[in-house]
Symmetry: C2
Subunit: 134 residues, 2 copies
């Protein structure tokens, strides 16, 4: 096995429509957004309530996957580094990691903030935050 | 697109050989382990040094993917909850999230701790930890 098949469980519905207009990190002015969960996965939301802290794992579908070194934060004055030593979206598997607060919960979607992922970004996992996460 | 194809970038080499013997979380007595990176991805490690804090993303290959509700921590006394409200390994996409320290770095592998993933667990991403992660 050298390839893994992950299923999209939902999508981000956001007013952010382009990577160019999105902050690099959630705490850099990112907006609220909906996380819409596909019908077959809604049961997995049971127990999530407003006020919870979550880690949202997305698939940054516009990222480049054939890049192994970058200037961190796109700053040409910073020496090139391996992508695994950065948070660049460009990397072999562009999984986005977003720490968010739950603002409200509806049947098949949750309102979350802050999240810099653009509209339509696939979601692959949702995890409750543990104290040891930070 | 409803399925995502992720590439395995490396594997955990650990003395832990079964899920039954592994702690549930890294901070519950998990050991050191090697993270061996496949040759084609070694360039992505550039800049990682001993003392760094990383988030390791694994694919928990022994987890069940058809489960949407669990007793948190496997405790039957705790009411069933949706997997997205827990850290159960069982979930539609069993991506493990491991916050570790780097103990040492060699050409194609890094020594990390603590990590509860068992020997052979596929690794799908490595990210430097940001202050906002915790």
């Amino acid at each position: 096995m050298s390839t893994i098949h992950a299923d999209i469980i939902g999508r981000i519905v956001s007013d952010l429509h382009s990577v160019a207009s999105a902050p690099k990190q959630g705490n850099e002015g990112a907006p609220d957004a909906w996380l819409e969960v596909l019908p077959e996965y809604v049961g997995g939301l049971e127990g999530i309530v407003a006020g919870d802290s979550l880690m949202i794992l997305t698939w940054l579908h516009e990222a480049k996957r054939d890049i192994l070194t970058v200037h961190p934060r796109g700053d040409p004055n910073v020496p090139m580094m391996g992508v695994f030593a950065t948070r660049a979206p460009h990397r072999p598997n562009p999984i986005g990691l977003h720490r968010v607060q739950v603002l409200s919960v509806q049947q098949d979607r949750i309102r979350i903030a802050p999240i810099e992922a653009i509209n339509g970004t696939p979601v692959v996992d949702i995890k409750i935050l543990l104290p040891t996460d930070g």
